[in-house]
């Protein structure tokens, strides 16, 4: 007897990087590059008395999404917080460069980044940081070659630090309620600026500031989904045809969009202040309501855009 859940029915947040990939893509279509059997592991962790991971915390490869070839990379948020190290980062760089080079020969349809990361891996901070910069540059090259890059965020590590920046470099962003997308983590801000600035223990506050609902309503994410892998899959399929091109007009529109956000909401310190200004109903309740109720909310003007 098998009690196994169908992979796409599974919950994104609970799933491992590999389970997410398996459920996101068409069944049994995934082929991994530089798989765990090749032991491409970080050589830098042992000096910190840490054991590594056979895939250095990121799964990269190709597969089919709704019948079409795509590249996919998935970070494992539970291994060292999904953080970028030398090997981890280089695997993603290699994947993106392959997508860029493949563009001339017609593939892939898109690159899907399943981000789940606290940012740079401290034990190899310089290599991780530079890898992030290389990834950003590679994303730009892939997008310039006409291939959309999608960020899917809904894991326990969120997308922090360079991971938050990478997210916003993508053509389209899909989030579920668990997602937090930010640069400085709440703990980091609290450590540096004090608990008055940011009480990282106040989970509700953390989600109001960094969470998916705030990102979605302000235009920092394009699609908000319920938490099943299936939901991410459907959103990715739906969004790929609508990815904005990487060109001057897009960035000029993003410049206007972000400047306008700053102008309208620049004096706000908590999400409900923004919702009130944006004229949303019951601003204090937005964090509380169920996903269905939330999804029924009309997004504020400008939150739905091609300016990314």
């Amino acid at each position: 007897m098998s009690n196994l859940l169908q992979p796409q029915e599974a919950d994104w947040y609970e799933a491992s990087a590999r389970e997410r990939v398996a459920g996101l893509l068409d069944p049994k279509s995934f082929a991994e590059f530089l798989g765990p059997e090749q032991h491409a592991m970080s050589p830098h962790l042992a000096q910190f008395d840490l054991t590594g991971a056979f895939d250095d915390g990121i799964v990269v490869g190709r597969g089919r999404l709704d019948g079409q070839e795509v590249f996919v990379a998935a970070q494992e948020g539970r291994f060292l917080g999904g953080a970028f190290g030398e090997v981890h980062g280089a695997k993603l760089v290699g994947l993106l460069r392959a997508a860029r080079d493949g563009a001339k020969r017609g593939g892939p349809l898109a690159v899907l980044l399943l981000l789940d990361t606290g940012g740079v891996r401290l034990q190899e901070a310089n290599a991780g940081e530079l890898a992030i910069s290389e990834i950003i540059r590679a994303i730009v090259e892939v997008r310039s070659a006409g291939i959309p890059v999608l960020a899917l965020v809904g894991g326990r590590a969120g997308a922090f630090g360079g991971g938050g920046i990478i997210t916003a470099c993508c053509s389209r962003i899909v989030v579920s309620e668990h997602a937090r997308v930010s640069v400085s983590g709440p703990e980091v801000i609290e450590t540096n600026k004090g608990v008055e600035e940011f009480d990282s223990k106040d989970r509700a506050l953390v989600w109001r500031v960094c969470g998916a609902r705030t990102r979605y309503l302000t235009g920092g994410a394009d699609r908000y989904v319920k938490g099943r892998i299936q939901d991410f899959r459907e959103a990715a399929i739906a969004l790929i045809p609508y990815a904005p091109p990487f060109e001057l007009a897009t960035l000029k529109a993003e410049q206007r969009r972000l400047a306008e956000r700053l102008q309208r909401f620049g004096d706000c310190h908590d999400a409900p202040e923004i919702w009130r200004k944006a004229g949303l109903p019951q601003p204090e309740r937005i964090a509380e309501i169920t996903d269905d109720t939330f999804l029924a909310i009309q997004r504020p003007k400008g939150a739905d855009h091609d300016a990314r």
Binding site: K28, G35, T51, D55, R78, F79
Partner: protein, 104 residues
């Protein structure tokens, strides 16, 4: 950090035809197991790399018990451990053998 190998001889070849599988995550209190069909059919081997030192005796007991319980002949296991308890190690090893029975 500590690294060691545990070898065993078992009665039966592990079921299935899959070449390799991986399960679990190297996180605090957890571990990842990479399993490969790479040995003669009555042999098995576990390579352990663990963040916590001083528990080699328990590891060996857990692994030998697993060999006896699951008879994973022909399989080579590689473990990256983040300080998992014996029960979690057993569960992962059993899961990895089950994965080798399934289609890739």
């Amino acid at each position: 950090m500590e690294q060691f190998q545990v070898r065993g001889t078992v009665e039966r070849r592990a079921v299935g035809h899959r070449h390799q599988a991986i399960t679990g995550v190297n996180a605090s209190g957890n571990l990842e197991v990479l399993v490969e069909r790479a040995l003669p059919e009555h042999e098995c081997l576990v390579d352990v790399s663990t963040a916590v030192t001083g528990f080699r005796g328990i590891w060996e007991a857990v692994i030998q018990e697993f060999f006896a319980r699951s008879s994973p002949g022909g399989l080579r296991f590689s473990i990256n451990d983040g300080g998992a308890r014996p029960d979690t190690v057993t569960l992962r090893l059993m899961q990895s053998v089950r994965l080798m029975e399934t289609e890739a």
